[in-house]
């Protein structure tokens, strides 16, 4: 009897494990089965490198969106990563215990804010500031980058802090014993030792930034052209899918799914980098 329950539960756990794997497999199959034929109908190069997106007139080039996604993510990393890493260093090596009781929950709170709320904050606060500085509509590549930079902060801070805390205390104490100051010990002994964890933090941040949709739609302007400069409007791949899915039919719809395939490949590459890093660390 006991054994039977054992077997049943074993099977139950197996099924649970299979459900999540099945979900991933089904998404893959659906995306590629719909997206790849659409890509070949449009033409792979026309689709990936075409600079004109006008579905009503039969142009399906997502190159501006690919560049848009990469640039927005790049700016977000440039802004979010230095702040995030320094914040993590502060939390792990400088923060007085009293202050830590505020900072830690604040970072957790930042992670829990829904992205549409970030978007609204961006639209009401960052966009007017950008408009007063640079003119135009205020909705731009830079605005989206800044907002995403804020959004990836909790991811970067948490992962970096965890890896800093995992560095053996002896590294820091050894540096102190050799006569280094507190700053030198932290930045030249502890921080380099946490390198792989910090790289992982950056990659996770990139993954968060490239997949973000709702916040970006509100502040990026969503133009389907290659951005001329940092204050031009931009449309990311995720925005493109959400904005046009409502009205899309036929090839247009399939082209949007094909956009999702490209995005999926990007995410796959990012995850691959992450697991390679992790393996090297182990």
């Amino acid at each position: 009897m006991q054994k039977a329950i054992e077997h049943i539960m074993h099977a139950l756990f197996l099924i649970c494990a299979c459900v999540s794997i099945l979900a991933v497999v089904l998404i893959c199959v659906y995306l590629f089965a719909t997206g790849v034929p659409a890509m070949s109908e449009i033409g792979f190069t026309d689709f990936l490198f075409g600079q004109k997106w006008k579905p009503s007139s039969g142009y399906y080039g997502i190159f501006p969106m690919i560049i848009g996604s990469i640039l927005v993510t790049g700016i977000a990393v440039l802004i979010g990563v230095p702040i995030g890493i320094l914040c993590a260093v502060f939390m792990s090596h400088y923060c007085p215990a009293g202050l830590y009781r505020f900072v830690k929950p604040a970072v957790n709170l930042l992670a829990g804010i829904p992205s549409i709320v970030y978007g609204f904050f961006g639209l009401m606060v960052i966009v007017p500031i950008m408009k007063s500085i640079f003119g135009g509509s205020g909705k731009s590549l830079l605005t989206a980058g800044i907002l995403l930079g804020i959004m990836i902060l909790p991811t970067v801070i948490k992962t970096t802090e965890a890896s800093l805390n995992a560095v053996p205390k002896s590294y820091y104490e050894g540096a102190l014993a050799l006569g280094a100051t507190h700053e030198r010990s932290v930045f030249f002994a502890s921080l380099p030792a946490a390198k792989s964890g910090i790289l992982a933090a950056i990659i996770l941040g990139v993954g968060r930034a490239i997949g973000e949709t709702m916040a970006v739609i509100l502040v990026a302007g969503n133009q389907t052209i290659l951005p001329e400069n940092i204050t031009s409007g931009v449309r990311t791949m995720t925005s493109n899918i959400v904005i046009e899915m409502g009205y899309a039919t036929g090839l247009h719809r399939d082209a949007l799914i094909a956009t999702a395939v490209v995005l999926f490949v990007f995410i796959l590459i990012i995850n691959l980098c992450f697991s390679v890093l992790k393996r090297r660390k182990d």
Binding site: S56, I126, S132, S137, N222, Q223, I225, G233
Partner: protein, 333 residues
Amino acid sequence: MKITRTLSLGTAALLAIAALAGCSNDNGSSGSSSPSSSSSSDSSTPAANNSSAADSSSSADENSSTPATKLDTEITVVSREDESGTRGAFVELMGIEQKNEAGEKEDMTRGDAEIINSTNGVMMSVAGNVDAIGYISLGSLNDTVKAVDVNGVEVSVDNIKSGEYMVARPFMICYQQAKLDANAAATDFVKYIESVEGQAIISDNGYIAIDTTDNYTASGVSGAISLNGSTSVGPVMEKLAEAYKALNPDVSIDVQQTGSGAGITAATEGTCDIGMSSRELKQEEIDAGLTPLKIADDGIAVIVNLENPIEDISSDEIMKIYTGEINNWSELA
């Protein structure tokens, strides 16, 4: 306890940022028509920019006291997304849809126009940007933005009815006659939409009813009706369906909002009884066996920010703004 303190800290930070944003707002103080005063307004602009939160209100007063005729700033063009019914009707009526080199009709809306995928989003964006221009369905217009006259005609239900206001589009339904005849409930529903009672619901919701004198009396039919199509027609169709079901409780109505193109395709293929469209049917769609029927008119209001002094704009100027020939408000006549 911890959370309350964190929250209050965060709120304080947010308020500080918001205050900063508020006072650095560019009021877009305008060059007035006389050349002598334009230099003085130029010199006042940096002062307005540097002003603190306290006197930003006074600079706003200054703006309203000097009646400027035009802004002297770059226009922010706001558009709906490609394949939206509203955009389709707008570009066609305004002549923004032009022939390209290959001789095919192409939507020439400038590439750097801000794209927003909802009526409310367009209003929010125009309300928050002095330099913006956009377009929305008349039924959704509210006082957060200003609707400008087009070619000297005010956007109103009466002017659209008389045909004087040119930026209007029909709400259509379409069906295969044989399929409709076979479905007693659907036939009866169409009769209801075209009746005085049905049209009252349409005008109650801010759209322009068509003239009719037919009265509807419930005939006690039963059955199921499926509708599919435009997201612009959808909301008012839901209202119609609700009112109809109150009169005919044995009828079930399913309204799917997928977009005009998808609705027409579904009606052609027979996967729904009635298709909904927020634009006129094309000849090839009628040739494919569909009967179009107009159920209402909807105006498209051209909207600007409340602080924009412009009152009237010509359709030719709108076309040039949307195709990128005119970039600055001062270039308007």
